[in-house]
């Protein structure tokens, strides 16, 4: 019953999306101006219906209704409730429904709230949003119906990949989706602006909170995903340049560029066509990433159900949405009037440089991700890894980080390096000191050395924009920028230290034996069996001590066996200190009763993710600042309108008294 209700809601939402698109087009072409009025309410109702459909799917998962095929395939009655619920979006159909739900809700929200744009642009935006949603509704209803029934009803479900049975992962995909889908709003705004050729500061201000919001979620999603891969895969690495990771990195790179160019457009009315193009590209990257992951066209270490049939469907969607948007862009961009000009050395100039570098890195990641595919069409199977991505990415990341230190201090329109040169003396000295320190230590590669030195310089330079300001009056977006840039320095510091100073050890020890890794003394106390709700495990008890006199702490890495479906995973154990992390993985048992242990000492590695969180927090501050000033503006306008109304009333009253 619940499943049918969900399916009905989904069909109605799809029909309303069709209506929204049609009414929008008719109103825009002047054949039904009165229809324009229904577009906003229809968008809102469509969002609510999509939400109902999604809630229905959660309900069938929570109650493990095995007559629903999707539940039978992906869930299991023994699974803890939280993972049953998270299982709703842990599969292809459910995650597509989540995607559509968030997209429709976002569209409905825009329809109700956004009043700054000219009405035709708004209609075109909502029609664009409906067009994209319609494609995804069709995909769900035709090719991947999440509410399909199964007959006969199976006794038990097929479980869920135990690697995915993890809290971090339960909330990692929805976070990324919120990011992807926020970019769909930016995409629709870009389409709307292209249709009506109205690209300007108002458009940028309407788009900016969505870009910011999406970017915050993408940043958090990537940070969480990287941490998940780090502790769950048990390989000790935090980024593998895997297609799935690249699929989340590419929209982030585009969104970061968009975030900066949209600021230029909002405050200086420059970079019009470029911003619109980035708006299209950012969401396109989200869709391309999803396609690459779902179609199974690339091999990945991350488990994901793949199906080439679905791949063709998503590809068709991509061709229509992205191809259509880029064609519209090519036809219209030439007719969008040129924005304000600026000097090469100026805030705009620095932001353009940042945009070009980010786009170059995006191109490198995209090329590296697709190269195995290119090679495959020529008959070769290859894997492109860090030896390509690291140096090629750094080639553009290093100049970008240098400009990142300088840019925020430049003035709009026109400036000179001489003016800001003095405040950069200390950061430059820090960079030099960092390089010298690494050379003295010796044996550190070029990239970690550069990263370490730049992190020091950038850490200092990132707070310089606050110099000379009244801190209490400094607007939130400035604080946000400072925090985000500082977060980049923090993250970079963590990456460089991890890469330069990590110590790894693989040992086979008997219970009672001791070993050491880096500054840690480690003793294997015992290995004992454990049982969880749907797994059994061997758990090692490690007694570890930092240095000779530190406190003894217990660490319990596990080697887990899930039974539905049967699979082995290793649960690593982590011990975090202020200056790094000890990482322990329990391996197999050798014939002579010794146990394999993999141990890493990773100095400052948590800073990688702390930096990511700081970056997202910076975004949040900026978003709060923007929304607050938008609200103030709306209230001020209403106040003025109210006073004008009062004045008119008074006047009328007086006029009424006079005769």
């Amino acid at each position: 019953m619940i499943a049918e209700l969900g399916l009905a809601a989904l069909w109605m939402a799809a029909a309303l999306a069709g209506l929204q698109l049609l009414a929008g087009i008719l109103a825009l072409t002047g054949r039904g101006a009165s229809l324009g009025g229904i577009v906003r309410p229809v968008a809102a109702v469509q969002g609510v219906l999509a939400l109902i459909a999604f809630l229905c799917l959660i309900a069938v998962f929570a109650t493990t209704d095995l007559s629903v095929k999707l539940v039978a395939m992906n869930s299991h009655s023994l699974k803890p409730l939280i993972f049953k619920v998270a299982g709703t979006w842990g599969n292809h159909e459910g995650s597509m429904l989540l995607w559509v739900m968030v997209m429709s809700l976002a569209g409905g929200f825009v329809a109700l709230v956004e009043r700054r744009l000219p009405e035709p642009t708004m209609l075109a935006t909502l029609a664009g949003q409906a067009f994209v949603s319609l494609g995804f509704y069709a995909f769900l209803l035709i090719a991947s119906n999440p509410f399909d029934r199964l007959s006969p009803v199976p006794e038990e479900g097929n479980g869920l990949n135990p690697l995915l049975q993890d809290l971090g992962l339960a909330f990692h995909p929805p976070t990324l989706y919120l990011g992807y889908v926020g970019l769909s709003v930016a995409f629709s705004f870009a389409i709307g602006a292209l249709v009506t050729r109205q690209v300007g500061p108002a458009f940028a201000r309407a788009m900016r909170p969505w870009v910011l919001g999406a970017w915050i979620f993408l940043t958090l999603g990537i940070t969480a995903g990287s941490y998940w891969a780090y502790y769950e895969l048990g390989w000790g690495g935090w980024w593998f340049w895997d297609p799935v990771e690249n699929a989340s990195l590419m929209p982030w790179l585009a969104a970061t560029a968009l975030l900066h160019s949209v600021s230029v457009l909002a405050s200086r009315d420059a970079l019009r066509a470029w911003t619109v193009m980035l708006g299209v590209v950012a969401f396109s990257m989200s869709m391309i990433g999803t396609f690459l992951v779902r179609s199974g066209i690339l091999t990945s270490v991350h488990a994901f159900a793949v199906d080439p049939q679905r791949g063709s469907f998503i590809l068709a969607l991509l061709a229509i949405n992205i191809g259509g948007a880029l064609t519209l862009f090519a036809l219209r961009a030439g007719t969008v009037t040129e924005g304000e000009r600026f000097a090469l050395v100026s805030r705009e100039g620095a932001l353009v440089f940042n945009n070009v570098m980010l786009s170059a890195i995006l191109g490198i990641v995209l090329f590296g991700t697709l190269y195995p595919l290119v090679a495959e069409t020529m008959g070769a199977k290859v894997s492109v890894g860090p030896p390509y991505f690291n140096p090629m990415g750094a080639l553009f990341a290093v100049p970008m980080l240098v400009i990142l230190a300088v840019g925020p201090m430049l003035r709009w329109r026109r400036d000179s390096f001489a003016r800001v040169g003095r405040s950069l003396v200390i950061p430059a000295m820090l960079v030099a000191a960092g390089i010298i320190a690494m050379v003295v230590v010796g044996g550190v590669g070029l990239l970690p050395t550069l990263g370490f030195a730049l992190a020091l310089g950038l850490g200092w330079a990132s707070v310089l924009p606050l110099k000379g300001r009244n801190l209490r009056r400094t607007p939130l977006p400035i604080w946000g920028m400072v925090l985000a840039h500082f977060g980049i320095a923090v993250s970079l510091f963590g990456m460089s230290c991890e890469s330069a100073f990590s110590v790894e050890k693989l040992v086979a020890v008997k219970a009672g034996d001791a070993t050491a890794v880096g500054p840690w003394q480690i003793k294997l106390d015992a290995v004992e069996p454990m049982a969880g709700p749907n797994w059994t495990a061997l758990e090692a008890r490690l007694l570890v001590r930092y240095g000779d006199y530190g406190k003894v702490t217990q660490l319990d890495p596990q080697s887990r066996s899930f039974w539905a479906p049967p699979q082995q995973t290793s649960e690593s154990a982590l011990l975090t200190r202020w200056n790094g992390q000890l990482y322990a993985v329990l391996g197999g048992e050798a014939d002579d009763g010794r146990w394999q242990l993999r141990l890493w000492w990773k100095p400052f590695v948590p800073l990688i993710w702390l930096g990511g969180v700081l970056i997202a927090l910076g975004g949040l501050l900026a978003l709060l600042g923007r929304v607050a000033s938008d609200l103030r503006r709306i209230f001020a306008r209403e106040k003025i309108a109210y006073r004008r109304g009062r004045m008119a009333d008074l006047q009328r009253a007086q006029e009424g008294e006079e005769p």
Binding site: W235, F240, D242, A270, L271, R272, A273, W274, M277, V280, V281, I288, F291, S295, I297, T299, S300, V301, P308, G311, S312, L315, L318, A319, G323, L326, T327, F329, A330, A333, G334, E338, G339, E340, R341, F342, A343, L344, V345, E348, G349, V352, L370, P372, L373, V374, A375, E376, T377, G379, A380, K381, V382, S383, G385, P386, P387, R414, E504, L506
Partner: protein, 184 residues
């Protein structure tokens, strides 16, 4: 004072994104339509392998030169790297082949001693010798464009078979047959 920057894009640049996207769409369409596996005969088959000498990749065993392979017995030459994900997939098959008595030598491409040690500990170590090909020159000379690739080389040093991509379980019998052919 620097002149104002032109912010108007030239016409070709405006069409560039669409062009790139169409290229992408064409590429993935081919990828989706193409049958999953295909064998391509290399032009190097039947030719002697080029002469090379690589330094040891690990301190515990010798490096690899062409003279070490042309010893009268067929060898498998496996081009691999610790950063290559398909290499992890083929590791069990290589172990099985080594267990069947096949002499396997490795060329590790753009790798570090630590990463390589970790990779071998995790995925097993079927290699009698490992040469370090730090700039990928020997890899290119052998006509290999990526990792992993595996060559069957007969006792005289002639390339008899090139396997592109990972060795899957279903390939093991075929590779044993190729080795058998090469020993005759």
């Amino acid at each position: 004072m620097s002149p104002p920057v032109r912010t108007k894009a030239p016409a070709w640049a405006i069409w560039l994104p669409l062009g790139l996207f169409l290229a992408f769409a064409a590429l993935v369409t081919i990828g989706l339509l193409r049958p999953a596996d295909r064998t391509v005969a290399s032009t190097l088959i039947g030719k002697p392998m080029p002469a090379f000498a690589l330094p040891p990749a690990l301190p515990d065993r010798p490096g690899l030169g062409s003279a070490d392979i042309a010893t009268g017995k067929p060898h498998l030459v496996n081009i691999f790297a610790s950063w290559c994900i398909p290499c992890r997939v083929e590791a069990p098959q290589l172990r099985a082949l080594a267990g069947a008595g096949v002499p396997i030598v490795g060329i590790s491409v753009r790798d570090s001693t630590e990463a390589l040690t970790g990779f071998l500990k995790e995925n097993g170590d079927p290699y009698q010798r490992i040469g370090a090909d730090d700039d990928g020159k020997v890899q290119l000379a052998l006509g290999s464009s990526g990792v992993p690739e595996t060559y069957v080389i007969d006792g005289r040093g002639v390339i008899r078979y090139q396997h592109i991509g990972e060795i899957r379980p279903e390939h093991v019998a075929m590779i044993l047959a190729k080795l058998q052919e090469a020993s005759q």
